[in-house]
């Protein structure tokens, strides 16, 4: 059935902006059966103008067929019936066997908490919740497919719902209704969301972002220029003053005294944001957290560089790391033990990048594993 033919299909480049695309849409089965398929990309569908490919359905099983590796359940939610292909877990057989043999070994271990026993129970519960009979309630999430001109749901997860007093079903009915009224039936304005950044609403955000970026750049270029190894906020904070004059002009209507006060407060806030951003990037860090606020500049920290290099050199020789190299997290924990507890992952990554740039170490299988370049190699 073709519906909503009048709706214009937006370009697939913009689809990702619509949050409905990346969520499991809780649609009525009736709508899943009727929604039109995209003309640009197969297996993407449109409810009104919302692109989607994953759905979330709750309904009564009214039809069941078992195949070798999947169940086919007909799910009825009161508006329509749709086939759901629910794959059997390949590991069932292996797992149950493994659990069984494990259990026989542990038979003597009576009383107390027996994890093997519990695991067995868990597996059993899992298996039971995946086998349904006609009349059971099924919750299924999966992608919509059209095969032989019939819509069906290829389940990525599904389970039997115990709903003895219909509580789940009633609340589902209510929830879906709200979702329709508040989201699915409201058009998503693709073009508007793109233009959003140019409008006044996005302006403030954009400006504060650019101020932050400029402030970070300013501070880092000052540090590099002077070759600072460490600094205290009160010594460099004043550098950011000039940036605030071009920030939102709240000073025009205010008294001069409060202007001075608020601008120093603003500088302070801006500085906090900048420091946080630099810390997140791993450019600066605090070696010791104390009253005296001192920030180390990662690039300039010779001691940190040496410690990191030594760790990579020593551990590259160990059998455990000989093949793949040392993992970043391993290096991080060693550095934390020997150098400073406050070193973050991004700081270590920064140091490792510097060492790699200077050909002291090299990355092996990915950007998380490093080995030392030994001269004898």
């Amino acid at each position: 059935m073709q519906t909503e033919q009048g709706e214009h299909e937006p370009s697939s480049l913009l689809w990702g902006l619509d949050p409905v695309l990346s969520s499991f849409a809780k649609l009525y089965v009736k709508d899943i059966l009727r929604m039109r398929e995209s003309s640009q990309i197969p297996d993407v569908y449109f409810y009104k103008c919302h692109p989607l490919f994953k759905v979330d359905v709750l309904g009564t099983v009214v039809y069941k067929r078992e195949r070798e590796d999947f169940f086919c359940y007909g799910v009825d939610d009161g508006t329509g019936v749709i086939n759901c292909l629910c794959w059997k877990d390949e590991k069932w057989r292996e797992n149950t066997d493994a659990v069984n043999s494990g259990a026989t070994l542990q038979v003597s271990n009576k009383g107390g908490f027996n994890p093997v026993e519990q695991l067995k129970k868990l597996k059993l519960a899992q298996k039971l919740s995946a086998q349904l009979e006609i009349g059971d309630l099924l919750r299924v999430r999966g992608s919509v497919k059209t095969s032989r001109e019939q819509r069906e749901i290829m389940a990525c997860s599904y389970y039997k719902v115990n709903d003895p007093v219909m509580e789940v079903q009633i609340s589902w009915m209510m929830e879906v209704l709200h979702l329709y009224r508040d989201f699915y039936d409201k058009p998503f304005l693709f073009t508007k969301s793109v233009q959003h950044l140019d409008t006044a609403e996005g302006d403030d955000l954009l400006r504060s972002l650019s101020v932050l970026r400029r402030a970070s750049r300013l501070l880092m270029s000052f540090i590099r220029e002077k070759g600072l190894g460490s600094f205290r906020p009160k010594d460099v904070q004043h550098l950011l003053m000039p940036l605030l004059s071009c920030a939102p002009s709240c000073s025009t209507t205010q008294q001069e005294s409060t202007v001075a006060q608020s601008s120093s407060k603003q500088v302070h806030h801006l500085f906090r944001d900048v420091i946080k951003a630099l810390q997140d990037e791993g450019l600066v860090f605090r070696k010791v957290i104390s009253q005296d606020e001192v920030y180390q500049v990662t690039e300039q920290d010779k001691e940190l560089r040496r410690v990191t290099k030594d760790i990579v050199r020593e551990d590259s020789g160990r059998e455990k790391y000989a093949e793949k190299g040392c993992h970043v997290l391993h290096i991080l924990s060693c550095v934390r033990q020997t150098y400073s507890r406050n070193v973050s992952k991004s700081v270590i990554e920064m140091v490792l990048r510097c060492l790699e740039r200077d050909s002291e170490i090299f990355s092996t299988i990915d950007q998380n594993h490093y080995k030392y370049i030994s001269v004898t190699d």
């Binding site: 089965v29 009825d76 009161g78 749709i82 009349g135 003895p164 007093v165 219909m166 009633i170």
Partner: protein, 131 residues
């Protein structure tokens, strides 16, 4: 291949449903009687009250046997409507679940709201089609 969807109906609406339509409705299990035509199969009677009138629905339980009846409990039935000779309608149950303890008022509200929404949408769509 797949059956028709069982659309929610209130017990007092069943008598006006078309023959062959699939419905979902509810009621208290009032009685179990042996079928006249086939004594081995029983028929359940689900009853409910609406505006001080009692509505009884006969439910054919052949497809849901073995069925352990619990008298005076609330049941939800999903099945197909069949006309019987003389005295009205019967629901041939495909699903018959005991839901004792159900909040009927809430279920009714959910049904009414869902219906209203779907109706509004259909009206809106047909409105668009005209123009």
């Amino acid at each position: 291949m797949l059956p028709e969807p069982g659309v929610f109906h209130f017990p007092w609406e069943i008598s006006s449903v078309q023959e062959g339509a699939a419905v979902r409705t509810y009621g208290r299990l009032r009685d179990l009687i042996a079928s006249i035509r086939n004594p081995e199969v029983s028929e359940a009677v689900l009853s409910s009250q609406h505006l001080s009138v009692q509505y009884d629905i006969t439910v054919h339980t052949a497809f849901v046997e073995p069925f352990l009846p619990s008298l005076h409990s609330h049941y939800i039935v999903l099945g197909d409507v069949e006309r019987t000779e003389g005295d009205g309608v019967m629901v041939r149950a495909r699903v018959l679940n005991c839901v004792d303890g159900i909040n009927l008022a809430l279920l009714q509200q959910a049904i009414v709201e869902q219906r209203r929404y779907l109706q509004e949408r259909d009206e809106h769509a047909s409105h668009l089609k005209i123009y």
